[in-house]
Structure formats: structure tokens, C-alpha cells
Amino acid sequence: MSPMRLALLASALLTSLVGAAQAQTTLRIGIAEDPDILDPSIGRTYVGRIVFSAFCDKLFDIDEKLNIVPQLALSHETSPDGKEMTIKLRPNVKFHDGEPLDAEAAKFSIERHMTLPTSFRKSELASVDHVEIVDPLTIKLVLKTPYSPLIAQLTDRSGMMVSPKAAKEAGDKFGLHPVCAGPYKFVERVQQDRMVFEKFADYWNKDNIHIDRVVFLPIVDATVRLANLKSGGLDLIERVLATDIKDVRADSRLVLSTAPELGYYGLTVNIRNDKAKGPLSQSAKVRQALDLSIDREALNQVVFNGEFTPGNQWVSPTHPYYQKAFPVHGRDVAKAKALLKEAGITSPVTVDYMIPKGAENEAVAQVIQSMAAEAGFDIKIRAVEFATTFKQAQAGEFQIFQINWSGRIDPDGNSYIFMRSKAPQNDGVYSNPEADKLMEDGRLTAKFDERKAIYEKLTGIVLNDLPIIYIYHRTLLIAHTTKLQGYKQMPDGLVRVVGLKFK
């Protein structure tokens, strides 16, 4: 080979190597729905939160053990009377448009969440009276009353910071071109098709960002999502079906990442809103009988191959606020029958049981139906389209409503809005002054031990009254290819892209 040709060949080889080293990497994530709007003040969907975590950092975040850790903040301190929270911000943080994240910007973001006419964060920040700037990197939230779940709210959309310049210019259209301070910046969105994000060069934690682009692709059908992952069209998918777990585990090119979810699956019982005045609404004993007729472990085995966690409280047994004094009880049909007898019921108890349509929901309902039948319940399952269930639930057109709550980090987020008298999602209109008082105290108390004791009392009352019969906690199921490394699943179900790399 002539020296000239050798040189040419060598240079071609080098070029191709350099080319390979610089090849752009793209992480393609399959999500189960198309999110609503990408504005942290206006967004309402769970799937939207997954997308936010790629481009919109928050003041605080959580770790695998549900500890609250700093993100855009460095630290926080609550005054002894619980009415002031001082937050120190991380220095040298920039928004995607180059604007600095300082105390002024943080104040603007929080006030925007609180005052934008279309904001959905108002109720989450309702305890905040106003925000003060202490120094260029410190803000102080002055509260109307002490509110211990506030810090947990700041680990979600209420804690997301947006560029004041971009937000002022765009108003409530900000979500069409969001500008935040996260690892990736927004490039484009085609509704129902894709959302594209590109690495942000000035990200404060850029050393841990190894992938150039992140693309979210909404694919509604779980089977098709998995097919895409298997065929190499996607690198990671969320919400794998429990029935597909075996398939994923059997594939050597795939990895299943799991975590217990924060929420619960439960049966909301209509107590005071029940127009038919069925026995369930009239007597706690009847509800206890239904509760005792359910074998949660068997249900878990039958419907979910034993992958989920049977539960009896609004937090899962792995949560720091789970009350070990009240373990999940076994099935006791004899006792259930005796309780019905005590309540003065002889004939089968007919129950109108509403579920949102869906194969999993229907399977759960059918198992419960057959278990409860042995104890003397005649359950009539009524599958209703999801959007319609809200309206019927609010109107009290049900006796049991099977719901799935995605969950919040703080136990307050899983209990207050469902059980406090007149709370927005208290569809069964449960009301117990003692429980109300405990739920209020839970909000005012900051110390873990004291709060846990309050919630222990509340658990005792709720497990006796049973306005909601808790059944199980789902396992978050995320699958990705073996090429993707460094993935850790958090209990909030969100997909965190920091630290991920391709092999």
C-alpha cells in the first residue's frame, strides 16, 4: 500500500473514530400518556411530573428512603413557632435563557404559583402568606399558620423555579415554551407525539449529565410500549403491566427497576352521601365485615402475580409513617358473618361498586366480589369511564368507589383531602370530629415522633370507621435496556435523568 493511501486510510479511520466519540446520544423514554401543559404552575398530570423532572429542577427533592434533600436550595430552616421558613439557594445556578436563579427569581416563582389566575398550586401554597428576600441568595416564606407538609410540597411542582423573564413574557402560555433551571432545556413538542429536550450547557450539576438529548414519547398501549422497548425503539418505559413482568425478566437485554409507590389502591365507602342508605353507610360493623372478607395476599397473587404490596393504611408498610401497631390482618369470614349478624343484617348485603374502566381494575373488583360473596355481600360491579367516575363520585352515585391514588410524600397528602370533613375529595362525606382534629394537628406539628403519634391515633379511628378500605400498594414498574446504566427508581415514580449514561 502506498504511503499516500495509507495516510488516507488512517485519516478516514481517525475521522470515523472521532465521529463515533462525538456521536450524539439520545435517551428515548416511553410514557403512558400525553401530559397536559408543561408549566409547573398549571400542570396537573402525573405523567407531566415525569417530564418536568428532565428540565425543571425544584428547591428540594427526595431520595430513595423518602428523605428530603436539597436540589436548587442548599438548606432550609423553620423558625421555632413554625411560621417562617428560611431557604438558602444554591449559588451560580442559571435558567435555560441565561438568567440567574437568585432570591428575586425564587420569590417570583413562588409568587407566580400563588397568584397566576390559572395556577393549580394555590392550594398547595395556601399556608404561605408572603415571600421575603433576606439576601441575594436567601428567601423567607412567612406562613399564616404552621404547616409541616409545606417542605414536601416544595419537592414537587410548587418548588419548581421558572425564569422570571420568560414567564413574564409568555404569561399563561409559558408552558408552550417552558424555561426552567433543570438538566435539559426544552426544544420542541408535537402534541401526542414527542417532547424533545437538549442538554443544558450551564446546568449547575452538569458533570453528572452524560446524555445529549432526552425525548419523551407518549405511547398509551402498555403492550406497544414494551414492544418498542424490545425492538430498540425506546430505551426506557414507565408503567409496565404487572402481567408483563415475567416477560421483561426473561429478556436478557432488559432490566426491570421497581420501587413501592407512595399511593394506595382503596375502596372509598359512601357514608353520608349514600342516597340508597345501604347498610354499608349505616354501620361501621358492615364495613368491618367487608374488610375482613378480603384476603389481600390472595388478591395480590391472583391479579398481580404477588408483585404488589398488600396494605391497610394510606401509606405502604415501607413508609416511615406506616403504623406498625396496626398490621394487615388476615381473612376471617366467620368473624365477618358474625359482624353482619351483630349489625342486624340477615339477607345478602347488596352493594353498588363503581370502578373506573380498565382490565386491572375489573380483575381486582371481581376478586373482591367473589371473596365478599362468601361473607354475605352481593356486590354489583359497575365499570364507568374514567372521566365520568369523578362526577358520579362527587354526586354520591356509588356505595363503593374503587380508586387508585398516586400518592404524596407526606402522609397528609394521602389522608387530609380524602377524609377531613368537607375536604374536596371526601366523596363518601365521612366526618368524624376527632379524626378532623388529628388531621389538623398533623399539619401543625413538625417533629417526626410527635407527628407519628398523632397519625397512629388517626389510623386507629380510620381502621374502625373504615371510610376507605385500603387494599394494596402498587409497585412502580419501569423497564429499560441493559445499555442504559445508572438508573434508580424513586418511590414517587418519576424518572430522574441525572447520572444516566449509555454503555
Binding site: F120, Q191, D221, V224, S231, E385, K391
Partner: protein, 329 residues
């Protein structure tokens, strides 16, 4: 001809007005409350009230209709309740996708359906005929959903030839675009090809038995010339109307297919909008679909006349050619 066209176009306006009133009245029958759906997981009453006011959901339906109509007349279809995108923009984004998918599906249907129908009629009673009929039966009775999933398993997972889902615009990368749309287009085209095949077959059989074909044969013309020049032209006239109407169906009927292959087209847009009670989007999409449907119908009528010169004289009376075809025979 011009008179006919003018009259048909004039008919479109009242039809669309009627359609718009119908959409508005019918969607009120949808159970569920858009404000409740939009409020999301935490159904705060204050938030729900805020949404009702913001989108005038608390106003009487006729008032809402007048606001909407005013907007539509000035080219503004409102904005999506869910993501604040202008409905006009959403439609502009989705329409080309569905049109591409629809025309590819139609092309596949025509390429399979018409030749199969002709062969089946000409070779009546032979293996060819039975084969084509069997294919048509299969095409009609195979659910789109099943066929789609099977194709994904075969061509994406097992063979790795085609992407399992997603969409790439033609203008961005035509090869990738064709690769992404060929499977859904085949699924859609498959069912239509079966319908076209059956119709072509029966029309062709009828024509082959007519006097002028017998005359043509008697004149000693080649069989090829008899079939392609004389018989086919006449047999195809009713197929045009059928094809145009099927094209209209493709626009809104691609729902399942678009869902399986995650094609961000019209079908997917309307399904998501209905489930999210995104009224503004539903109204816009239905109106546009109706317009396209009516236009296609008009185009079919015109094409009908162009293909069959015997019908030309008829456009002067009030008879719609598609409905008066019996007078042509």
C-alpha cells in the same frame, strides 16, 4: 357543470351550520364534567370554579355556542382546555399526518382491491376467484388491533425491520417517514381493500354480462382490450364514490390504528380530546372532519361525471349523479 358545482357548494354552508349545532348539543350529553377532569387528581372546589369561569363552562349552552361561532367565523377555533394550544394549530399539526396515512392506506387498498376484484370476476369460479374471496373475507373480519399488534411483533420485534410506533414527517426524512407509516397504512388499507375488491368484483361481473361487452367481443377485440378499455371503465364509476367515502372514513376511523402505532393524527387527537372532555378540540376536529367529508363527496361526484361522460347532461337537473346512477344503466 358549473351550475351543478355552484349549487353543491352552496349546500355546504347550511350543512356545516347544522353539523356545528349538532356537535354542540350532542357533547352536552357526554357524561362527566370537563372542569372536574381538568382539575386533576386533587379536585379542589375553588380550582373547579376557576376553570368553569375561565372557559365559560358555567354559561348557558347557546351563549357558549355564540362565542364559539364568532371565533370560528374569524378563523379562531379556541384553545385546548388541556394544554392551551390553539385548536387551529393542533389541527394543522395533525391533519397532514392523517392525510399521509390515509392516502397511503388508500393507495394500498386500491393496488390490492381493484386488481383482485377484476381478476376474481374475469376468472370467476376458478382458484383465483376463491383465493381473492378468501382474502376479502380475511380483510373484513380481521380486527385492526390484532393485525397491528401481530405486525409489530413480526416486523419490529422479531425481524427488527420497521419501527414499532411513532411518526416522522415526510419533509424531515422521507425514508423514515415511510418506514413509520407503512405498517399502520397496511392495517388500514387491508380492510378497505377487501371492501373495494368485493365491489369491483360485482360491478365487473355485471358489466361483463352487458350487451356492449358482448358486442365488443363479437367485433373480435382482444380479451385484454375488452376488459381494460370497455368493461373496467364502466365498472369503476361506482367504485369512485365508494373510494371517496372510505377516504372520509379514514380521516376519523383511523382511531384504533393511530392508537396502536402511536401515530399523532386526527383519530388520536379526537379520542384523547373526548376522554379529557376537551370540548374545544372535539368541536374543532368534528367540524373539520365534516368539512373534509363533504368536500370529498363533492370531489367524488365531479370525478364520477368526468369518468362517465354519459352523466354529463344530468348535472343540469336537481339530481345528484351518485344517487341517480340507475338512470345511467
Amino acid at each position: 357543470m358549473l351550475n351543478f358545482l355552484a349549487r353543491r357548494i352552496a349546500q355546504i354552508v347550511p350543512t356545516l351550520f347544522f353539523v356545528s349545532v349538532l356537535i354542540f348539543s350532542l357533547q352536552q350529553l357526554l357524561p362527566g364534567d370537563p372542569a372536574l377532569v381538568m382539575a386533576g387528581e386533587e379536585r379542589d372546589p375553588a380550582v373547579i370554579e376557576q376553570i368553569r369561569q375561565q372557559y365559560r363552562l358555567n354559561q348557558p349552552i347557546p351563549v357558549q355556542y355564540v362565542y364559539w361561532l364568532k371565533g370560528v367565523l374569524s378563523g379562531n377555533f379556541g384553545e385546548s382546555l388541556r394544554n392551551k394550544m390553539p385548536v387551529r394549530e393542533l389541527i394543522a399539526q395533525k391533519l397532514p399526518v392523517t392525510l399521509q396515512l390515509g392516502s397511503m392506506a388508500m393507495l394500498i387498498a386500491l393496488l390490492i382491491g381493484i386488481p383482485a376484484g377484476i381478476v376474481s370476476a374475469v376468472k370467476r369460479g376458478t382458484v383465483w376467484d376463491y383465493g381473492a374471496n378468501l382474502f376479502a373475507l380475511w380483510g373484513i373480519s380481521t380486527p385492526n388491533f390484532w393485525l397491528g399488534i401481530m405486525l409489530i411483533f413480526l416486523f419490529s420485534i422479531e425481524l427488527g425491520w420497521l419501527p414499532a410506533s411513532g411518526y416522522v414527517p415526510l419533509t424531515e426524512n422521507w425514508r423514515a417517514s415511510l418506514a413509520a407509516t407503512i405498517m399502520p397504512a397496511f392495517v388500514l388499507g387491508n380492510a378497505i381493500s377487501a371492501v373495494l375488491m368485493r365491489h369491483t368484483r360485482s360491478a365487473m361481473l355485471q358489466v361483463l354480462e352487458s350487451d356492449y361487452v358482448r358486442t365488443a367481443r363479437a367485433k373480435g377485440l382482444s380479451e385484454r382490450s375488452v376488459i381494460l378499455k370497455h368493461a373496467m371503465r364502466n365498472a369503476l364509476t361506482p367504485i369512485i364514490t365508494l373510494g371517496a367515502l372510505e377516504l372520509g372514513t379514514l380521516l376519523s376511523g383511523a382511531v384504533l390504528t393511530e392508537q396502536i402505532f402511536s401515530i399523532p393524527g386526527f383519530g388520536k387527537l379526537i379520542v384523547d380530546a373526548v376522554f379529557n372532555r376537551d370540548y374545544a378540540v372535539v368541536q374543532g376536529v368534528v367540524l373539520v372532519t365534516a368539512t373534509v367529508y363533504i368536500t370529498l363527496n363533492l370531489v367524488a361526484d365531479v370525478a364520477y361525471i368526468l369518468v362517465n361522460p354519459r352523466l354529463r347532461g344530468w348535472t343540469h337537473d336537481r339530481c345528484r349523479p351518485a344517487r341517480c346512477s340507475h338512470r345511467a344503466s
